[in-house]
């Protein structure tokens, strides 16, 4: 028996959507402009090309005044050829998908977009990293015109950060559009989860500062013991590298209420560069977005290499990858190169050859961290690493 090809019974209806927002109009205009450029070249029997910003750390410049990585002028031009024809077709298909999503007021996660491509026959993506890369390319290309991935209606699959503290998040009801007030103290033993799009959110709070915590375990300890109440702060659990939405959320929160942001991480090269540095100044890969997706006001509370000495914390030896990463930070990362304090801290770590985890504080008692460590550190916030 021959396998019958499955055809869905319900054909997608064109949704009625309200009038296009100004942002949507800009998005559609930019997609169209790009396609027109390609089409004109083809009509002239020239090889069409697409220009993408160079998204490597090489093309990132750390602007100490602005406080984040900014993109250099380097562009990558992709001219249609045998080697590029597949990704050229995929890029155009992805743009067409974006246009359709705007037209229908819908969205697609990165993974969904990858599965949509499975209907593109030869132009389909074999693995999701390929479709993610194409999406990043398009995003970077349009970011030059101020259009972000969210505007292109693509979303990350990433988990959102967790929030606990005395704060009201102002959101809107999906159906009625009525304003919603979400009290972040009202989640009991759970926590508020940052959505993937945060642009429309507003905040009400009287907290004094934001504490961005690397590990979920530490976040839970602080939140379960109501540390937010004791210290009058907002706790954010980033669970490793903060996602774009988390970065944007913290940024908006910090901007709107002039709150200082303190990062509380492990003491190892990964925590310094990938977690803290990304939160504060953004990443090389997303250099085109850093102006929105970073928190330049953030400072590093701990655990610092000096803390290991001061608190006599139990440590682990640095692995080869750690040492390599630390050396690379000193040599190539414009952020660390701009801050002497960081260079000293990293050199100190390399010299001792040791790293420590946040949880190492439990050596002195499970609640040592909230009873003693954090209050002591917060007294001297000016000494935090930049």
């Amino acid at each position: 028996m021959a396998a019958k090809k499955f055809v869905p019974k319900v054909q997608p209806k064109k949704k009625d959507r309200g009038p296009l927002s100004d942002l949507d109009k800009v998005t559609l205009r930019e997609i169209k402009n790009c396609a027109v450029h390609v089409h004109e070249k083809i009509c002239k029997q020239d090889k069409p090309e697409l220009k993408f910003p160079d998204r490597s750390l090489k093309n990132a410049r750390y602007d100490k005044k602005d406080g984040y990585f900014v993109m250099g002028r380097s562009r990558i031009e992709r001219t249609l050829s045998v080697n590029t024809v597949k990704s050229f077709a995929q890029t155009l298909k992805m743009m067409a998908l974006s246009k359709q999503l705007v037209d229908e007021d819908d969205f697609a996660t990165k993974r969904e977009a990858y599965y949509v491509s499975k209907n593109w026959e030869e132009a389909k993506f074999d693995e999701q990293p390929e479709s993610d890369a194409t999406m990043d390319d398009i995003e970077a290309m349009f970011s030059l015109e101020g259009v972000l991935r969210e505007h292109l209606r693509f979303r990350a699959d990433e988990h959102g950060g967790k929030v606990a503290g005395q704060m009201i998040v102002l959101d809107r009801d999906r159906e009625s559009g009525r304003p919603l007030r979400i009290d972040c103290t009202g989640f009991g033993s759970g926590a508020y989860s940052i959505p993937s799009s945060v642009e429309h959110l507003g905040f009400e709070t009287k907290a004094k500062f934001v504490l961005a915590i690397e590990t979920l375990g530490m976040f839970e300890r602080l939140s379960q013991h109501n540390y937010w109440k004791t210290a009058n702060c907002i706790l954010i659990g980033t669970q490793g590298v903060p996602t774009r939405a988390t970065r944007r959320f913290v940024r908006k929160l910090s901007d709107s209420h002039k709150l200082p942001v303190y990062a509380f991480n492990d003491c190892d090269p990964y925590a310094f560069s990938n977690i803290y540095r990304t939160l504060k100044v953004g990443s090389g890969n997303a250099v085109h977005l850093n102006q929105f997706f970073c928190v330049p006001t953030a400072r590093f509370l701990g655990v610092s290499p000096q803390d290991i000495v001061d608190y006599d914390l139990p440590t682990h030896g640095l692995k080869d990858v750690d040492i390599k990463r630390a050396q690379d930070m000193l040599k190539n990362d414009p952020f660390f190169q701009a801050h002497k304090e960081w260079q000293k801290a990293i050199e100190m770590m390399l010299k001792s050859g040791q790293r420590a985890e946040q949880q190492a504080l439990a050596k002195h008692g499970l609640n040592f961290v909230l009873d003693e460590y954090l209050p002591q550190k917060l007294k001297e916030a000016s000494k935090f690493l930049p």
Partner: protein
């Protein structure tokens, strides 16, 4: 039957002798063996008897091989005779079953050659080491005069039937039919003849009944005849197999191979034993005359130099020279510079006819041939020729004038399978010596060694280490010589003389270089074809995306597609 009993006697005699020889330590005191008793068992072993017991040396070691060897020997003789008499050969070969047996066959080969005189027929077919070719240095297929009579003897031994021959030596001669048995003990034929009616101007036909095994495919009679047709494009041959299927090989040329001269041996090619024999048989009464007249390329000055070096007076009667003197003569010959032998005795096939033969029998995309000038090994002139047929038709791409690459339609013929292997199989190497295909012992042959030693990767072929290259290719190699140095009497492999290996190397390289140019061009075209196919896969997707975004109509979309195709093809000019 006398033959069988004769063999039995011989067997007993030999085994006794062997036993006696091993009993050098008298283990048993009861043994009464002594010189006297041994003498009663010591007697001459005839050549025929020797080969009866060593038939593998002549290529009759298996029933399957026997059939092929018999056909080969008969065809060789027919072609040699025709060419010497300057007659365009018309050969008929037939193999038929005896009754319904799958084990006994009759092999018949008929030619339009000059025929054989009545007095000679019994000797030619019934006596080993009898022939016209052993005693002279002339390029011919047969060399030793044992081939066809060995086949006859094999037939007699396995079926008991005599060799049947019909021959008519000329228009006005009476055609005779013969039945010939070989007395293996005496190496003497035992023949009867009678007058027959034979509607033929001249020619010979030989039929031998023999035990055999009939197979098709590699190392079959079919394959042998096909190879023969490749190397002998002047031959017209009709073959009828045991099932009555007739295959006809047409001529590709109406010219006989160039007539070859017989030469005297070159001094550098003789060994001491032959030198002694030549001296005994010489009619010359002085050493100087012997050297000048019984050898090629020896003049008065040269003869004088040899005599001086050997310390022999030139006027000495050569028969009076003792063995040490002849030994000195041999050393003197080797130490003297002597002009290379005349090369006119070599008749190569020639590049044009190699190509014609290959094109006739092997379907390929590309043919190339190299015919080297004759050179000398150990005083014997020889020439190496190489031909290459590459690529199965239909697997190729061609570029049109408009710059499009198209696949050339395949025309399938049965020729494909017989000689040329698949793209992932080793190449087929076909070897020839004096236009005779060499079917067996490929790996022991100098030709194979030279082909393997050639670096075919230089010519765009794959080649595993120490093996034949891989690919759809036939490599034809021919050695023409007045004396082809076979590794054994069954004439299956060429001995690896340095001079021969070097000429093989040069000839293979010359053809290989031309092949390389072709292979690389084809590969480039194939790569380009693949890339263009790849491009054309994605063009429609680009157009659909543009159509979606810009809301193009069908006309604009088609135009965009055409433009894109043109742009990409234009950018990929070869």
């Amino acid at each position: 039957m006398s033959i069988t009993s004769g063999q039995q006697t011989l067997f007993d005699a030999t085994s006794d002798t062997t036993m006696a020889a091993t009993k050098d330590k008298p283990k048993s005191p009861r043994s009464t063996v002594n010189a006297e008793s041994m003498a009663t068992r010591q007697r001459e072993i005839s050549v025929s008897e020797f080969f009866t017991k060593n038939r593998h040396l002549l290529g009759f070691d298996s029933p399957r091989k026997a059939l092929l060897t018999a056909v080969k020997e008969a065809v060789d003789n027919s072609l040699d005779a025709c060419e010497e008499a300057r007659i365009m050969p018309d050969i008929r070969v037939q193999i038929s079953r005896i009754g319904t047996s799958e084990k006994q066959f009759t092999m018949t080969v008929e030619d339009n050659g000059p025929g054989i005189m009545k007095a000679q027929v019994p000797n030619v077919f019934g006596r080993l080491l009898y022939g016209s070719k052993f005693h002279r240095l002339r390029q011919s297929r047969g060399q030793q005069g044992i081939g066809i009579s060995a086949a006859g003897m094999y037939g007699l031994l396995t079926t008991g039937n005599p060799v049947r021959v019909r021959s008519k030596p000329g228009k006005k001669s009476v055609p005779l039919a013969y039945e010939i048995r070989i007395d293996t003990a005496k190496n003497r034929p035992d023949a009867t003849d009678k007058v027959i009616e034979w509607d033929k101007e001249h020619g010979t036909e030989v039929s031998i009944d023999m035990e055999g095994e009939y197979r098709r495919g590699q190392k079959s009679v079919e394959e042998f005849l096909k190879l023969m047709a490749v190397a002998n494009p002047h031959v017209h041959l009709v073959y009828t197999d045991p099932d009555g299927v007739v295959t006809e090989y047409q001529r590709a040329t109406n010219e006989l191979p160039q007539e070859v001269e017989e030469i005297k041996p070159h001094p550098h090619g003789v060994e001491l034993g032959i030198l002694l024999k030549m001296i005994q048989e010489s009619e010359n009464r002085t050493t100087s005359a012997f050297l000048q007249q019984d050898f090629s390329r020896v003049g008065p000055t040269c003869a004088k130099e040899i005599c001086e070096k050997a310390g022999i007076k030139p006027e000495t009667n050569p028969r009076r020279l003792d063995t040490p003197a002849v030994q000195r003569m041999k050393t003197a010959i080797d130490a003297t510079k002597i002009k290379a032998p005349p090369l006119s005795c070599i008749a190569p096939i020639g590049e044009a006819l190699i190509l014609a033969g290959l094109k006739k029998e092997v379907d390929a995309d590309f043919y190339v041939a190299t015919s080297r000038k004759p050179v000398v090994y150990r005083g014997h002139p020889f020439a190496i020729e190489v031909g290459i047929a590459y690529g199965k038709p239909g697997d190729t791409l061609a570029m049109t004038d408009a710059g499009k690459i198209v696949e050339v339609a395949k025309k399938k013929t049965e020729n494909d399978e017989v000689l040329m292997g698949a793209a992932d199989e080793p190449i087929r190497l076909i070897r020839f010596a004096n236009r005779v295909p060499l079917v067996f012992q490929q790996s022991a042959c100098a030709i194979s060694k030279a082909v393997i030693a050639t670096n075919w990767k230089n010519y765009g072929m794959q080649q595993p280490r120490g093996a034949l290259p891989i690919g759809p290719m036939v490599v034809f190699v021919h050695i023409a010589s007045v004396w082809v140095p076979f590794t054994s009497e069954s004439k299956e492999a060429i001995a690896s003389y340095d001079e021969i290996l070097e000429e093989l190397r040069l000839a293979l390289m010359e053809s290989g270089r031309k092949l390389g140019v072709y292979v690389r061009k084809g590969r480039k075209l194939a790569g380009e074809f693949k890339k263009r196919n790849y491009i054309e896969t994605y063009i429609p997707h680009m157009v659909v995306a543009l159509k979606d975004i810009l809301k193009l109509d069908e006309k604009d979309a088609t135009k965009a597609r055409d433009n894109l195709t043109t742009v990409l093809e234009k950018s990929r000019k070869l």
